[in-house]
Each structure stands twice: as C-alpha cells, then as structure tokens.
Amino acid sequence: MAEVKRSRRQMLVGVGLTAAAGLGSVALLSGYSARLKSERIDIQSAVLREVNNRWLFDCRATIDLPARIQLGLESGVPLQFIVSVKVTKPVDFWPDDVLLSAKRRFRLVYYELTRHYRVHSVEDDKSVNTRSLLSALDELGSLNLLDVTDWVKNSTDLSDSSIAKNASVSIALDQQYLPLPLQHLFNSDWRLASEEFVWPLS
C-alpha cells in the first residue's frame, strides 16, 4: 500500500511541478515577450469622430521598420499591420464596457519587378502604390477617414457626449500573418508594435 501511495504522490508531485514550471515559463515568456516588444511605431495623434452617423477614425503614426524586417519585405515576405481601435466606458469595480472594438488590417508588399511598394487595406480592398518604402510607411501611418462604424457595439453610449469614454489605438505587426518559421516564440526581430495611444473621448 505504501508503494501505491508513493507512486501516486510521485505522479502528483510531477503534475504539480510541471504545472508550476509551465506557469513559470509562461510568466517568463510573457515578461520576455513584453521586453522584446520593439516600440518602433510611434502614434502621434488620433481622432475619432462621428460624421453623418458614421464613425471615422484619423491617425498619424511614424513607423520605423528594423533592417531585418526591411530585408524580409524586400525578399518578398509580406507584412500585415493591425490597427486596433477601441472605445471603452469605465465601470466601477468591473471591467470596462467596450463600446467599439475595431481591427483594421493593412498589408505592405514589395514588388521586385516594378520596384514599388503596395499598401493594401484588406477590409476596404483598396491599394496604394508607392515607389519608396518611406512613402509606403508614410501612407501606412496616415490613416484618414477610416470608417469603423461597422465595429460599433453600443452606438447609443458611444454617441452620448455626456458619458465619459476612453478611446485607444495601437498598431502592431501581425505575427500570425508572418511565415511560420518567423513566428517562433523567441524570434524578437519580428516583434513590432506601438504603445497603446489613449485619449479621452467626449
């Protein structure tokens, strides 16, 4: 009977240690991942306004691609940036109420034959071609009149100017869109994201 107890105890200890090690690893990875986040996208301004019952979003950001990503882009690796816009209503002692949550995707591709870059809005299916990377990044960082009405969850509260709201926007390179070998957990070269830009929305 003692042998059974010892074997069971050993199994439980194994599971416990593994769980602890797993949690520790996740925590370490999270910390490591956060530390690896390269903040080379700087959002300078953002505006969300309602025009004719449509919610339009303007944003100005500077995107600085690291050399490794530039090389990948010029080698044919397509990049996809995700612009996340969110409007929340603070709730006491509870998670904030999300009034709007939009994700817009923009792809940046380089064509060797014509030596130009293309910025393509996935949701709008519109493209802009530029002959330089700087122009392409400038195009990517200049979002004008971006319609996010379809992502509104609570238009009443969103339109109510008496309710205090917080709007936030962040731009990040979509890791899932990258080719699989570049998605590795510790591949820090391909981590690119901005800090969350938050402003009060009245």
């Binding site: 797993g22 690893s25 044919g76 034959l113 014509t114 080719p179 699989l180 070998p181 957990l185």
Partner: protein, 738 residues
Amino acid sequence: MASILSRRSMTSAVWMALLFVLLIASLYVLGTMALRLDRFSQYYSFLLVANGLALLFIGTLIVLNGWRLTQEWRAQVAGSRLTVKFVILSVVLALVPVLLVYSFSVRFLRANINSYFDIEIEQALDDALELSRESLGLQMRTLQRDTLNVADQLVGVSDNMAVVELNALSADSEASEMTLIGPNNRIIASTGLSDQLNVQPVRPDDDLVSRAKSGIGYVGVDPVGQNDLYIRVVTPVLSDDPTQENSVLQALYPIATRSAKLAESVQTSYQQYRSLVFLRRPITLSTILTLSLALLLSVMMAVWFAFYAARRMMSPVHELVEGTRAVAEGNLQTRIYKKSKNDELGYLVHSFNYMTLQLEQARDKTQTSQLQLESQRAYLQAVLGQISSGVITLDSQQVVNTVNAAAISILGDELQGLTGRKISDGAKISNLTGQFCDQVLSFLESGSKATKHKHWSAEMDVVAESGRRFLFVRGAELEGSGSEGSGTVLVIDDITVMISAQRDAAWSEVARRLAHEIKNPLTPIQLSAERLRRKFSKKLNGEDTEHLGRLTATIENQVDSLKSMVNAFAAYASTPQLNLVKTDPNSLLKEVMELYEGTRGVHIELDLSPEVRELPLDVPRIRQLVHNLIKNALESQSEQTHPQVRIISLERGQPSFRELEIRVEDQGPGFELDNLGRLFEPYVTSKTKGTGLGLAIVKKIVEEHGGSIKASNREQGGAMMTLRFPYPSGIVVTGGDA
C-alpha cells in the same frame, strides 16, 4: 497489495504510452507545418508549447524517479544498485543510436534544405526578371518617344485648346490615359480611353511632376489600380514663355495581357524564391527544433521506460532480497507475491516461498522439540531439586553440567562455580570441593575403567569446617552414541548423620550393657573390701594393718570411680521421660551462672536477649547441659589465669519457625579439626580427665528436646557451642508438662 501495485504500474504505463503517441503525432504535425510556409498552421505555437509542457512533465517524472533511485541507492535499499545499472545501461543503449541518427538527420536535413537553393535557379530567376525588365524597357523607350512627340505638339497650345488637342493626339497613340498638368500643378486636360481606369485621372507623384517641370522625364512600369501594370511616361511640355514653368504630360500605356501575365509570373516566382532564400535559416532551425524535440521525446521516453522497466523487472529481485533479509533476521513467515508466473524470476520466487515454508515448518518442529526438552529439563531439575541426594552430571569430557541443590548443600555453595568446568578443577574452587573431586576423579580414571563397570559406588570422607563428613557416592555412566559414552551421573548421599546415629546407638547399647554388667558386682566388691578391712585389721599389726587399709581403700575408691563411670554410662544410655515445663531460658541460665559466682579467677559473661520467650524445657536436664558446657569451657582454659566464658541467648528464625539459640563461647585453644565431626561421640575428648561422655550427654539432651547442637571454632580464637531449641509452632505453652 501486490496486485494493486501491478495494476497501477500497468495503468501508468498505458497512460505514458498514450502520451508518447500523442507527442509523436503532434511532433509529426509540427514537422509538417515547419516545412510548409502557408499560414494555416495557427496552432503551431500551441502545439509547440504543449509539447514543451509534456516534455517538462516527463522530465519531472524522470527527475523524481532519479531522485528516488538516488535516495534508495544511498539508503542501500535492496535492488537499487541493480536498478541503477539497468537504467544506465538502457539509457546508454537508447542514447547512442538515437544520437547517431540525430546527427546524421541534421546533416541530411541541412544538405536537403540547402539543395533547394541552387545557384543556377537563382541566376535563372534573376535573368528572367531582368529579361522581363528589358522587354518592358524596349516598350518603354518606344512609348516614351511617342509621348515626347505628343508633348512637342502640345507646345504653345493654350489651356482652352489643350483638351481638344490632347484628345486628338491620344487617339493616334496607344495611351490609355493622357493627363496634362499645368504650371500651377492643376490638371489642364485629361483623356482616358480605357474602362479599366478610374473616372478620376491618375495623377503622378509630386516628385515626378517636379522633376518633369525641371526637364527630367520619367518612364517606368507602375501598377495602377489593383494589380494592373502600366507603362508610365512623364515628360515636360515646354512653355513658350520663359517666365512660365513648363507643363507636364503623363501618359499611361497598358502592357499587353500576355506580357503582363508573364511578367507577373516571373515576379511571383522570383519573390517566392527570394522569400524561401530569406526563410532558409528559420526553416532549418524550425525543422531542427522539431527534430530535436522528437529526439528529446525519444530519449526521455527511453529514460522513463528504462526506469519503469527496471523497477518492474527488479521488483521481484527487490522483494527477494528483502525477503532474504527478513529470513536472515528470523522472519520465516516471509512470502513474496508471484507477479510473473512462467519466467525464471517466477520460478525463483516460487522456490523462495517453498524454502521459507519448509524453514518455517522445520523451525516450528524444532521449537516444539525444544519446548518439550525444556519442559523435561525443568521437570528433571524440579525432581533433582527435591530429592535429598546430591546429583552431579558430567559430560564425556568430565565437564560438570548440572549440580542440584542437595549437592550444593552437601559440598557447599562453591560447588556452583564448578558448573561448566572440568571436575579436575575442583581444587581451584574450594578445599572441600577439591577433596571430593580428587576422590571422584581418581575413581573415574582408575576404578571404573579397571573394572569396566558402568555403575559403581564408594564411600568417601571429606573434612569440612564443620568436621569430617562421610559421603556415599554412586556413579553411573550415561548411555551415549560415542564410544566413551555421553557422560557420568554422580549421586551423593551425606551419611555423616547416619553413621553418627549408628555410633550413638551402638554406644548407647554398650553403655547400657556396661552399666548393667559392671554395676551389679560393684556393691559386693565394695562390701567385701569393707569386710576384709574390718575382719583382718584387728588381726594384723603395724605395717600390715596400714597396708591392708590402703589396699581396701584403693578398692573402695576404684569401685566408687567405677560407680561414677557406670552412672554416667547409665545416664547416657537412659532415655528418661522428659518433664517439660514452660521455662524462661534466661532465668535458667542466670541461675546456673550464679553457682559459679565467687569462683576465683573465673569470669562468666551473660549476653541475654530480653526478647527471648519462654519455652517448654526439662529444667534439671537443661541445667545439667549448661553445667557440662560451662565446665568444658572452663576446663579448656585450665592453663589460663583468667578463663572467660560468654553465654549468649537469642531468638532467631522465620516467623513461622522460631528457635532459641544459646551460644557458649570460650577463649581456649578451640577444637581440633580431626575431632570436630566426632566431638559428640563418647570417649572422644582432648582432656586427660573425665569420662568423655559430657558432650555426648549434652547432645543427647539437646536431641531429646528436638534441638540441634553444633561445635565450631571462633574466628577470633576459642571454641563455640551453638544450641538451638525450636519453639512449638502455633502452640502457646502456658506451663506444666509439654
């Protein structure tokens, strides 16, 4: 319990096998994903983490197993060393081929992936791309020339006429759209013949416009709209007025569909290849990572299985060793559960169980026999302890095995020290034991062997502190399996008292006869002597009369002496009826002592215990007894100027048996040891005077009262007589005859 263990072990093995299969499957999927560059594998990271956690779990189990095995090794648990060796051997056996395969696999993998990227293919793709560019370049140069012609024709055309003129010119060209931008950067005129273009004219980039204004034209293949390729030509339209800036003409020419498809195909292939080249290292690393995970999984599973198999295989061995230890410690009830039935270990376990069963039965039988033997021995000891004869047993080497209480009583407490030693060592124990052992030994070595009798008997005498003692010893050789037999048993009877009693009886008879035969003629002799003196004294004269008087006086004196002697014999031989009267012994002793007061030079000391109670005594005879003892004590100190006698009385003994003890001590020379045993026999005396019946009569009186007497020498010098008279048990004597 063992079945539970076995079932649990099997369950864990099944779970581990399932986990192993799952991990292998997930690694297969990972490997497949790593080699494909499409983007469906959104679970790649999840699978990678899950595999890592599973490996971590197995690693933890291995570490725990290793730690447990180390602990067992340090604690020297049975079977742990064998388990360690088995585990190490298994791991080495698994590790060597796996590492070999791994190294070759990595090498082949690298070589295989590198083979994808052939230099010739890369060069061919570069050339194809360049060829496409050249082909487009030829078209671009032709179209640039056409556009320059159109621009020349637009020189000097007013803004109002520009639309008409541009339409006319574009109709003759292949341009799908022509746009004229004025000096103020406004579009002056635009014409579009293709439906593919937007309604709004496609405006060239500002830098192209600026460069064109300054006289630098541009021609290139640009994508316009979604995926369509156009040849864009931007050229200046020179102004007539030197003060005014030049206008700019942009013409867009569609590329032929076939050429566009080919160019796009070349570009797509080129980009895919470049992308692969760029991802070559990450792909290699990914694949090696997956391969490493598979290797790690294989190794860890091998290690875990080595632990599992070692424990499972070593379990019967461990239990056998533990069982052997238990048996060695005396636990013969140890049984081992037989897990495997038909293999060698199963046979070994079966044999072990059969052996322990046999041992247990044999031990039970032995214990039963031993208990019976102990019982018989105890019974024999009890019997020997109860008999009055002393019994000593010797083994074949003449070593004393047993000595019973009676033998110790006869030969002294020192005899116990002879147990376990040879009988020839008797002299080392004590003088008395030595005397006995020497006689027995000489008889054993010469007497019995000479006669070859297995049973013999002999009378032996030894001199003890209490005097000479007579022993009747019978010996018998015990039957044994050896030629010399298994030993000898000696039965000893102390016949000193019996011999003394026989002598006493003989002396009593002699005394009675002497008294009877001698006393009768003494009176006639005395009367005759008186008559002779009276009759012949008158007839004789002078010296004859005197001579006759002396002779008759002599006869009368001798007759008186004979009468005294005969009376003494009569007193010794007589057995008068005791007249027991409850008497205070201390008063009686004081009364006798008073008779000696005033005797010059004699000092008699009385040490009488006040606790001494009355007891029934024949006062005259006890008085005679005390007289005799005092008289003897004084006579033994006749050569001393101040003879001293000390009389002690006390009560002694257990509450159930109380005795009066009277001791008479003197400071004389003491008794001779040779006579000590026969001191109370008639005519045994060291004095020159007296009848030699004093102590014999004393002993007779003591024995008539049911008491005992003992003569001994004091350690500080002098003799001591010890008399003991028992108090009647349970009877309170109030007076009168007892």
